[in-house]
Amino acid sequence: MSQAPEIKVSEVTKVVYSDVKKLAHTIVKDLSVTFRSGRSSALLGHNGAGKTTTIKLVLGLVRPTRGNVSIDGLPVAEAQRRRIGYMPEVNRIPPVLTPMEVMDYHLATYRPEQLRDGARSRAAIEESLRHVELWDHRNKRVGKLSKGMARRLAWAQATIHDPTVLILDEPMSGLDPTGRMAMREWISGFRRAGKTIILCSHELVTVGELCDDVNILNKGKLVYSATNEDYQGAYRLSLSGIDEAATAAMREGARLPDFRRARREGFAVHLDFFDYAAAASWMLAALQRGVVVTGFAPVSIFDEDVLLKYFGKELES
């Protein structure tokens, strides 16, 4: 298996013109973002933030007005696209085809050499359809499949050629809880295998579980970018109440070298530390003072106050 590539979007601007009045509309502006090799990166943002356009730039479906997109330093071309598996947000599979035909077509376009060996290609299709539990429905028309089944087929289609890059746009949409669990497991499998993953989703819990890096877009610009390493070992201590003891504890904690920040939220106080040991020792001290500790947990890159800042009301709702 070839090594998972790095994808670089460098100072890309994309301007589109409306069909009728030919008004210019900038979808993405001076965007620079790197999806690192073997990492799972989240691409977040409001609707219309430019996430889908960024994905299309990476897939070569949209050409940048300015700037460039490269995969391992090479421009996006046919050879590079062979390494990518893509699962769009909405099922784009013609409803009159059967899963068998869909997979056959896909394998033929991604791995034409495999077509020469009929038995091998059939075995690959069977394995892939069995993996997503669609083998028994292989001759049913896609239009007759349930939404969840169609999503599973989209996953099978995106991964049958064993891509080293996986681009997933809202992979959980339309799936029931069991389907979501399975999808999470499949994505985790790709992550463990060291593939490069780009994940677009509005489900922050899912993104938090599956991603190493986070990139937030707003109005076509990158407004936040962080990696798991930035928060490695960081812990959050949550205290109840705003009484004197908690306030004093907060002030005292703020003077410690490993302290990151403090935040009030209603009647609670959250203290973030860069280091587990510092957080734990400080917690013990706080407990001895009679402060009620309501939480002690690692801080993720999907720290909700950061996300709140960029997502605003959408996240609160």
């Binding site: 299309k56 479906l61 949209v62 893509y86 769009p88 599979i93 085809l97 077509y105 376009t109 289609q157």
Partner: protein, 256 residues
């Protein structure tokens, strides 16, 4: 070449399962039946009426199906987003477009064969025996026209939505049917520019070239050389239109 053939195969499969396909075959059959009945009622020579009426229906059915399929194959793929996933694959846009067009032509050939079988049955039922070379050529030229109309539909679909592409193709097809007669009947007061434009259009876009009904019924004689020129004209037009379509399509962004 491999990916192009794969796309052609899938395009053909999609069209074969398209809702228009069966009505198109039925319509082709019904038109032939009607032509058969009309020939019985007519006072003119039976075979001439069969070909005049039947050919009109055959011509209309094929060209309309080519228009619908041509726009559907490309425009609909763009609007419903299936184009997005197909072009995310390692397939060049030229391969995709040409593959789609070839699949479309295969679909038209299948429709043509099915209608021809029925036509032959009608001829046998009326004791005309098997089709002769002029009649076969008549149908072969009709197929060239279908393929040409399909190419026009593909061309418009590379940059326009379904509705616009449909109407533009329909208008272009009609223009091709009337360009020559109009150029021959321009009023004497028409200004020089108009005359030049209409005459030029009649020279480059004259679909009348593919109507051999008079030749098929023995009313008109056309030399083999002339037939070759007409067939070549059709093939060259198809090549030009598909090449221009590819040039347009290569530059387009894929946005559903």
């Amino acid at each position: 070449m491999g990916p192009m053939l794969t796309i052609m195969r899938q395009s053909f499969l999609l069209l074969r399962r398209d809702k228009i396909f069966l009505p198109a075959v039925v319509s082709g059959v019904m038109v032939t039946l009607f032509a058969n009945l009309a020939s019985d009622w007519g006072i003119e020579e039976f075979r001439k009426i069969l070909f005049d009426v039947g050919a009109l229906g055959f011509h209309l059915t094929g060209c309309l199906v080519a228009t619908f399929w041509g726009t559907k194959t490309i425009s609909e793929a763009r609007t419903d987003g299936s184009l997005e996933i197909q072009l995310a694959a390692p397939v060049s846009r030229v391969s995709w477009l040409v593959g789609k067009y070839l699949g479309l032509v295969l679909g038209l050939i299948l429709l043509w064969i099915l209608t021809m079988i029925f036509w032959q049955a009608i001829m046998l039922a009326n004791n005309f025996g098997l089709m002769e070379q002029p009649q076969l050529l008549f149908f072969a030229f009709q197929l060239i026209e279908w393929a040409l109309v399909a190419a026009v539909a593909v061309f418009y679909s590379t940059f326009a939505g379904v509705t616009i592409a449909l109407f533009a193709t329909f208008s272009t097809w009609l223009a091709g049917l009337v360009s020559f007669p109009v150029s021959q009947n321009l009023p004497p007061f028409a200004d020089g520019w108009s005359v030049a434009v209409v005459k030029w259009l009649a020279r480059v876009w004259d679909l009348r070239q593919f109507n051999l009904s008079a030749y098929a019924t023995g009313v008109e004689k056309i030399s083999p050389g002339e037939l070759q020129v007409r067939a070549g004209y059709g093939v060259i037009l198809v090549l030009i239109i598909i090449t221009v379509s590819c040039i347009f399509f290569r530059r387009r962004d894929v946005m559903a």
